[in-house]
Symmetry: none
Subunit: 203 residues, 4 copies
């Protein structure tokens, strides 16, 4: 057994990635030096480059775990029995939780770079956005069929949900106090509003 066990390498890669997430979240991508990441990961500067093409690669590397997080969020089977309102709430809750972990600091960094970095954008779209939307559409279709409800604009509906999620996080990150204070109740309230309509009487 001559080779360094791949597991160790994977572990180190992960350690670097974790460090990167931490430091990026704290200081932002541009304000973070490669050395910052290296020190946070407890490796030498050059070691970073054994695992990632360049500094930007660290960011790209952050996407993949995120996509796994996104995928794991939904359990299609469990959804069929839900009411529309609960169905919606679940789909709001999932993504909301995904970034809540570190108080949305990583969200900040990722979005910041997404806006400006085409490659990252493509990767994010491919690995996170498209799967998420796809799963949601599928789930929605299945749910609708199971409940004998017509779904005239499933695709649009799903976009509304995801847009709402992003928009809400964005506003919260921007420092909207009302959202911050009512964060816990938000998914429910939003679900009510969406299902019942602005004009109507929600639960």
């Amino acid at each position: 057994m001559k080779k360094t066990l791949p597991e160790e390498l994977v572990a180190k890669r992960t350690r670097i990635l974790d460090a990167a997430a931490r430091v990026f979240a704290e200081k932002g991508f541009h304000a973070t030096t490669v050395r910052d990441v290296a020190q946070a990961a407890g490796v030498a500067d050059g070691t970073i480059y054994n695992y990632f093409e360049n500094k930007g690669g660290l960011l790209l590397g952050l996407i993949d775990p995120m996509s796994r997080g996104a995928r794991g969020q939904v359990d299609p089977a469990a959804l069929e029995g839900l009411s529309l309102r609960d169905f919606v709430q679940v789909h709001l809750l999932g993504p909301l939780k995904l970034f809540e972990a570190d108080d949305f600091e990583l969200f900040r960094v990722i979005v910041s770079e997404l806006m400006v970095n085409r490659e990252l954008r493509a990767l994010f779209r491919e690995h996170v956005l498209t799967p998420m939307t796809g799963l949601a559409e599928e789930a929605f279709g299945r749910w609708a069929e199971a409940n004998g409800v017509p779904t005239p604009r499933a695709a649009l509906t799903v976009r509304v949900l995801s847009s709402l999620v992003f928009g809400v996080i964005l506003q919260r990150v921007m420092g909207d106090d009302l959202l911050t204070e009512n964060w816990e109740a938000l998914p429910g309230a939003l679900a009510d509003l969406l299902v019942g309509g602005l004009g109507g009487e929600a639960t």
Copy 2:
């Protein structure tokens, strides 16, 4: 004694700011050098610093015109006669148009920096977000009163609208084809969905 007329100075400031907006939109904030801006504005590098504290000041300077744009969007008087659906649509349309100008390129840059730059964030909140939300809440209140409709959660409703706007732009900027293709019809469709609710039958 010929003192340079302030107007001229204001004009030059504006010229620099326009140049900055243009170049930032094209290359992003970090990828743009002060020299890029200077050249685009037709002034010397050093001149920039006669009008702005530093590079970041250019960004801050971009906020103010934007706030005027935001404010000008709504005409409270004209809103009262509208149906709820149309009221909503108008409030979606305005902000959507605000950034559409240069194909959302400036939106990209601003959001990118907002995520990461506390000072810019505060300024943006103060000059753009808060006024916008405030105006919308006020308009909504006035509309509700005029139409004898109760508004149990005006604040939340307004957040839903603005979140939706941000989220939708975000997703479009991310490259969502469905949104891009149906962009024109989007405000109407969203208004329908919001007013009628997911469960219901829209107009």
Copy 3:
């Protein structure tokens, strides 16, 4: 007069170039850091880049003065009266002197990079080699005509001369003691040998 006088800039450029020549000659191109050059020139690191594209540009910049040196070496008018032997000697002497200045240290560096740097090679060929060879051919032609001598292979003859020059310098630079010791007498001896032929009795 607002502008920095171009003369000053040219002077500074020259100062940097001189410094580069000095430092390169001493340590070689690769072993020299840009900072070495900057310090030798008494400017800041960054200033170098106001005058040259990059480190390699310093090398390219060294070519041009050299070409002027090469050109100035010959005075066509004075050549016509010479004997063939003296004509040859003059043409050996010129280039030999060109690099003798700093004990061939710069020759070392230039040749070292010429061997490996295509761009430098092209520039050197265009600005130094071709003009030199051209001038020599022309001078040789004029001399031959003036002296009623046929020149069956002027081009080849000129190559032989220049090759000999380069080869001789090369071998001296390589540390050939015999050449070093007899350096002063060399042009004459070579001229004798070339004109009279290996077999024969020189003038």
Copy 4:
């Protein structure tokens, strides 16, 4: 006890050296990384250091085979019967062929480093230049004696030959078209010129 046969080690050393020659010739010495050589040789990076002191050692290692090539070029016995012109031509041809192999690419690299690397220079002088010159002088002496010809300046004559060889290669490497096109005929023409003299009538 199975000890690795020295032959195998020598073979691997040779393989590494061949790889080095190939890669150096292609990319130049400085532009080549030790890893490049290792990969070209099919070994691990670290293995290189079991056979060579350091990267420079690879270059030094290239000299030795070259010296063998240089030595093998001449067969003293066969030379005695030649005419002076043919004797000269043979001595031009040999070294010319030595580097022709890979289109002078290796010549480029070696000369490039020779110019700048004292240690390499010493080694090259000792193992290649001095033997070559010595052999040639010896051969020339023997030939002169055998043909009853006085050799007043054997040493200088030999230098002229080797200088011419180096100079001609140098100019060809520099991109002299005339030399490139007439390469095959060159040794003959040079021999004619040298033996007959510039003034005279060649064979």
